[in-house]
Symmetry: C2
């Protein structure tokens, strides 16, 4: 007997993407110490928390200073005050009813989308879009639901749903049966969306095939198109087949503050090995109560403030600021003849590389010649090759400056 | 194909302990609406955050309000400012050197002790003490490392190391080989400790058997005995065989604020199926960077303040307050002829039930006749039967009142 590691971890390719981006940036900065490098790579926000959120956050910290108002352990699922605000503002508004027991507040959508697979069996067949937010893939590799990565950059046993300019970034239904489908819309990394009718196709598929959709809507607040659903539950019957993930990270600048939530409807069912229906909500409740101890109380109060009339107004102003950047990026790049996608209902702009350049070559051109950092699309999966992601999260000034510099390049 | 649940979850007994405690309390309160019930059950703190912590927390919230000082995504492993304070104050002070890359800051020790098993293979043989903090057991059940629970209250395939008055609460080494041993000292729930020599026996066992010790030291701040180690790394060679978990929850009242950390030394090794050594630190790093996004920035600043001279003085005053309660509980119960354990280097007092009463019967006597709520020892495992846990986390006034009431009972 010796202690054995989880060997599935050895199948993971090192998280080379952002590490390699950072390495090339560091190398460039060392060689060009005076260069003014503009970062449009990692999807982190730059604007501070809005005043209404800060006020609520401060007030809650003050509560923690007084024995009469001090808050110890809270519910692992989060406080009802926040769950109720979420239901009222993020769901009722779109005609969706939920009970507070269906809303699980957490410290991040990365955690939730990473942990959710634990409550499902190892033998489920998983589908992801390609390109993809790598957490969906890596967490399934770690759990043992895949084989090794092949030379094509795909893990054996995973189903990849290709999304590129040729299919308008609309994934086709899996050609082989799958049990769990990860969808992220508005999409990270491509910035594209699905209309209600396009998403409905997946809901129907899941209903017919007794599959489950893990729907990541972390970028919901950026939706600007009328036919794009804000929640998958706007589609009839979706509660029976979908879990939805949301976050305050991009909505309200909580990337360093940490708050998110996951909706697991009571109607949602899975199956045991004998084919009996099993409710999914109690499984996630059990997972969270066993391995999580609730999000920080002052943080939950800060999140609640994003739903006050003042808070809402303030966070939407920040969203508008970023979306104005997105527009500038889209228009500037289109003007110089580049093909761009996304950036309408998303802070991400997905740029086709000129002249069939590969993603890393285009990254190097932008870094070396315009001192602008993007993220090579190939880092998000094989179908991301030939694209590069830019984010609208920088300042207006930097965004304009970056576009000016790129516009002067010759491709 | 249909979506399959993780059937290991079905092996879990519902978390009946605190639910049943709450049910009996509610029933009693309904029947006796005027009764002044004193809660000494759940291990939650009651004193507010100390002023130095509040100041740092407020200051960090203010930083989040300004674009110049705003903090977005931080390192998943936590900020160096906190890791450095941890190393200096919690380790160097006891002669232990660590690198910041060996300290992983998180939102809770429950999360870390629950998640750590993911990086190990499913086929490891696990040992826990009995009674035990149930998270260690349940997370291994959920992962599939056990069979069903037997009539004896023990899961098939798990090794239970009995701890009761007969062996002085010193677990014996496993009689069959094990790969991973969970130890929690000062112990939850018994409040007992291991001396350096007693803990050394386990370190030697792990070294000889290529096993790993998961050492939960969440109650370290309460240690009052000179021969009790503050860290397992005070024992020579322990870095090669032990992971240590710490928390700010009980140390500084962070139960609702959320901050903890886990130490994974670079020297620690596991093995792949071919017997090759594999470093454990990069595996945990990979787990955390893939499934976690760092603890809240203001919370990390608040935690850092517990190490300032003023912060330290203030939190130790709170610890002294609780430990004065523990002394009152120990002495009051001893005076009326009850056998009590723990409460010297721990906020938990483990009371032997009088007249071989079972745990729940004694719970009912205390609730009905003294209106005091404890936690039945049997809820922590079969060897907890015949004991009841009381905590020192209530106010001095309530603690005295509870002891007065219990002292008037006749057993």
């Amino acid at each position: 007997m010796v202690v054995k590691i989880n060997e599935n971890y050895l199948k993971l390719k090192s998280s080379y993407l952002f590490v390699e981006v950072a390495r090339r940036e560091a190398e460039f900065t060392k060689a060009n110490p005076d260069a003014d490098v503009i970062k449009m790579g990692i999807g982190d926000v730059t604007k501070p928390l809005v005043p209404a959120v800060i006020d609520a956050f401060r007030k809650a910290v003050d509560e923690m200073a007084d024995g009469e108002t001090f808050m110890g352990y809270g519910p692992e699922q989060g406080y009802d005050f926040l769950a109720e605000a979420i239901i009222k503002n993020d769901y009722n508004k779109y005609g969706v009813d939920l009970d507070t027991s269906e809303v699980f507040i957490s410290d991040g959508a990365k955690c939730d989308t990473g942990n959710i697979q634990e409550i499902f069996g190892i033998d489920n067949k998983i589908a992801v879009t390609d390109p993809v937010y790598t957490v969906y893939v890596d967490t399934n590799v770690m759990a043992g639901r895949t084989g090794e990565m092949g030379d094509d950059g795909m893990y054996e046993g995973l189903t990849y749903l290709k999304c590129n300019a040729e299919n308008g970034f609309i994934p086709e239904l899996p050609s082989e049966p799958v049990d769990i489908i990860y969808l992220c819309y508005p999409n990270n990394p491509t910035g594209t969306t699905l209309t209600k009718d396009q998403l409905k196709v997946f809901v129907e598929y899941a209903r017919e095939n007794k599959a489950i959709i893990l729907f990541d809507a972390a970028y919901e607040v950026f939706i600007n198109e009328d036919d794009v659903p804000h929640s998958i539950y706007e589609i009839e019957g979706a509660k029976e087949v979908a879990i939805e993930f949301r976050s305050f990270s991009k909505t309200a600048g909580f990337t360093g503050t940490r708050c998110a939530y996951t909706v697991v409807p009571k109607e949602l069912k899975g199956y045991d090995s004998e084919g009996n229906e099993v409710e999914i909500n109690p499984l996630w409740n059990r997972r969270q109560t066993t391995k999580f101890n609730g999000a920080s109380y002052p943080v939950q109060r800060a999140a609640e403030a994003t739903y006050s009339p003042e808070g809402r107004k303030q966070i939407l102003e920040v969203v508008d600021y970023y979306m104005a950047n997105a527009k500038i990026i889209r228009e500037s790049l289109t003007d110089i003849g580049l093909e761009v996608y996304g950036g309408v209902s998303s802070p991400y702009i997905w740029v086709k590389t000129p002249n069939d350049m590969d993603s890393w070559d285009f990254f190097d051109v932008l870094l070396n010649e315009a001192n602008v950092i993007g993220t090579p699309g190939s880092g998000f999966g094989p179908s991301g090759e030939g694209y590069l992601r830019l984010t609208a999260f920088n300042t207006l000034e930097n965004t304009k400056e970056a576009m000016d510099r790129i516009s002067k390049l010759e491709f």
